[in-house]
Symmetry: C2
Subunit: 499 residues, 2 copies
């Protein structure tokens, strides 16, 4: 593509001649790397018109730049950036502030606290044994049909309506499918004004917290817990109270009487994968009614219940509308999609829609429609079935490796999921172990990020099977087991994270 004339602007208030100014701005664009070698600069006619100077001024400036080896002239086709042009490494020119800068650190009055995140290198796909969680496996995703659906959503028929600003309502096709086909599987019957489409589960949880958490509100989070939820509390400057889970998930009797809002993951507790038994669910709802607290049910991977039929959602047992349900397509479709939903009281949904319109207006309409097609044409069901089949197989291999190597899974009864929650032997620091394992092309997730700060814990770790091919599991688990033995023997590596 030729360089557009619009990127050249004359500096205001310069003392130089016009020709010098033009030489200067073109040279600067080349040196800084904004114009690359071989690119065609604007014709003298176009640049002259754009800058409102005479064409001869441009030509003289260009010829000067040719003499200085910034440009080369090619007969009849114009001027091009020379291969020999001087240049600084691209993007490496620091912004020059003529005056002392702004004290940014003092101005950022609401900093987001830095918190341990799950340690996962951005290039995790380059590792041979990635036991990491929450990323999709390209081999298992029905790419061809997703592509067909995306294509249909940008087709002429849909495009014009979807291109508009539509913050007042969500895609009716997507909403209807969720109401008619997805929620009923969780035992939930809702109406269109009780659901809001969100930018994934994280966005759903954040909006709920924004609307319901005020200063002094007593909010309960599970311990251990999904780190993204704790970061929401941090960002709001709110301190949640952590309640330790046991082999049945969050114990209702440990929820303090003054609780007002409880965040929980009954289907598959994150990260232990425990499924909350039905009796406990009923007890949880009874407590909620007695103590008048609200419950946020994060049902982030209910589709991955392949060992037993999924138990109905907590929301399905909810008699007085105090459960706010959060669903997501990140695990069943793919996380880069950024689509989820909230089901709750219509007054709350209405407020949430207003909040959403202030924060981001609405989730992109073409993404909503692509997903609606993927769901309604049956590809989602096929996808979930395929994942369940493969995850079941991988899980069986993982279980056998865990047994063979004498590793220690913890938690309680689980209906599937896509990971195991594990405990390392006494004295092993799993954060250190995880970093050491990278040299062996193995990725595991150290558990520290899941725990409340008041209870730092470096003995747990998570190993997921959603992104690793079945035929690599045995080798990877053997490497993990060997590293664990070395760590127990005190021979662990020396790398330490910056914290």
């Amino acid at each position: 593509m030729p360089i557009p004339p619009e990127i050249f602007l004359l500096p205001p208030g310069s003392d130089a001649t016009l020709q010098q100014q033009i030489q200067q701005i073109v040279a600067e664009a080349i040196v800084s790397g904004r114009c690359a070698a071989g690119e065609k600069v604007p014709s003298s006619r176009r640049l002259a018109a754009h800058l409102a100077v005479s064409r001869i001024t441009i030509t003289v400036a260009y010829n000067e730049l040719v003499a200085n080896e910034y440009l080369v002239a090619r007969d009849r086709s114009g001027y091009f950036v020379a291969d020999t042009a001087p240049r600084r490494p691209r993007f490496d020119d620091p912004v020059r502030h003529a005056r002392p800068g702004v004290a940014w650190a003092d101005r950022l009055t609401r900093p987001v606290r830095q918190r341990d995140d799950i340690l996962r290198p951005p290039n995790w796909m380059d590792y041979r044994f990635p036991f990491i969680y929450g990323q999709s496996d390209p081999e298992l995703f029905d790419h061809a049909n997703w592509r067909a659906c995306a294509l249909r959503a940008v087709g002429r028929r849909d495009f014009d309506t979807l291109a508009q600003d539509r913050y007042q309502s969500d895609d009716p096709m997507l909403v209807e499918f969720i109401l008619r086909h997805i929620l009923p599987r969780r035992g939930i019957h809702a109406q269109p004004d009780q659901i809001l489409i969100t930018m994934g589960g994280q966005n759903a949880l954040w909006m709920i917290a924004q609307l319901l958490l005020s200063d002094g509100e007593v909010a309960i989070v599970e311990n251990p817990c999904f780190p993204g939820l704790r970061r929401i509390f941090d960002q709001m400057g709110h301190v949640g109270r952590s309640v330790d889970v046991d082999a049945g998930g969050l114990p209702p009797e440990r929820i303090p009487e003054d609780a007002q809002l409880v965040f929980t993951t009954p289907s598959h507790h994150a990260p232990t994968n425990v499924t909350m038994p039905i009796d406990r669910r009923i007890e949880m709802l009874e407590r909620a009614a007695r103590d008048d607290f609200l419950i946020v049910e994060d049902d982030y991977e209910f589709e991955m219940s392949f060992l037993a039929p999924p138990s109905p959602a907590l929301k399905s047992l909810d008699q007085d509308g105090r459960v706010i349900y959060v669903g997501s397509f990140s695990k069943s479709i793919f996380p880069g999609l950024r689509l989820g939903y909230v089901v709750g009281d219509r007054l709350m949904i209405e407020e949430m829609r207003k909040l959403r319109s202030v924060v981001l207006r609405h989730p992109p309409s073409h993404i909503q429609r692509s997903t609606a097609y993927f769901l309604s044409l049956g590809h989602y069901d096929a996808q979930v079935a395929r994942l369940a089949r493969h995850y079941g197989q991988r899980r069986a291999i993982m279980e056998s490796c865990i047994r063979v190597h004498g590793l220690t899974p913890v938690g309680g009864e689980s209906h599937g999921g896509s990971s195991f929650w594990m405990r390392a032997p006494e004295g092993v620091d799993t954060t250190r172990l995880a970093l050491d394992l990278r040299a062996d092309s193995v990725l595991i997730e150290p558990g520290a990020a899941f725990f409340a700060h008041r209870a730092p814990d470096r003995s747990h770790y998570r190993i997921a099977y959603s992104s690793i091919p079945a035929n690599r599991i045995q080798d990877g688990m053997a490497r993990l087991a060997r590293a664990m033995e070395r760590a127990v023997g005190g021979q662990g590596g020396s790398a330490m994270p910056n914290d």
Copy 2:
């Protein structure tokens, strides 16, 4: 698509027989409209497996439902929902709460204040003369090339990386194009760690406000002003100070000395379209340095400067890094896209990236990549040129109609834009006028929503030409002029908005 067995769940703790329970849940699904007439219910084999009951139980229940005309049996192909099945209107069954509900109004501790929005019916496309702002014109958009770019972004080569969770970084291809080709046109030279991709301009402004506005901070907004910005202040419980603009936009000398953060739209003031003269820009920056305030420059439609070359952004004159620049593709590509960007100090951008990851993780990767292709293949430039050509033509017709009918544009010198800011004659209520005009298939935007509450104003209105075909402008403007005459004569309609 046949009805999946998963939508049927046995109610916990029921006293009925299994067969009765099955009849009940299938009948309920039909009556409520979740299963539609003609849809195939699961085979007895599949439903039996799913519910873990005997197949004969299912068959007996189905036969009972056939007898009751909920289902019809078709030889060899199974059972289908009968056309004659009883049903309540779809989604019309209220959720039955057995116990008194939650006092939601009391629980929503951070309600988003309801504010006048610009009055625009969601079905604006059904009106023949839509003088409304900010929606794209399907006739002018290069749909074929957008579709090709979207297609490429969901191609195998891109798909796998883009499907992942990528909150740590934005699409490098999009970032590079903005840095190399878009920002230089505004005179801005930035590096990759000084830019963040956002969910459109609204999301950018919201994040800036979140990071920089603390209690007691003196923040300045222009009056009149884009209502979306005031809603951000409302949502945060912050009262911005409004400063009246004049024929040159925001007057620096009216900015109070204790100002700490100033939101402004120098290229095309929203909604008056005035372009701030260069002297005033320089003075603004000098004041900012003297009084140590930061400036948020919302450059929301710089591409629409077709009457004169766009003046360089305020940010390009910024000597000490106190201007935070906001760009958006909503006007030049389409608003449903939801993509924009912020350019600013790297420390601020880093904080903003953290905030974004808490609130929504990241803008969907496929949208970022589709846009990157659209930009880098030159379609964006062609699109902007096409819009400028058509808008220029439409604007000329509008100007002539305004003159012919003696309507009153207000504001100052403008370099283009896509609308006119107008004042109605004394005594005309433009909110009422806009509602009356709907009956004549004309949409205009009453000005009330743009003004601070302390200065209610119903005499202004906006008429845009971005969505109305050139050949309808004359007729539409004639209808507007007639309605205005009637309103001056006191014969306006009686419809009033609910406020």
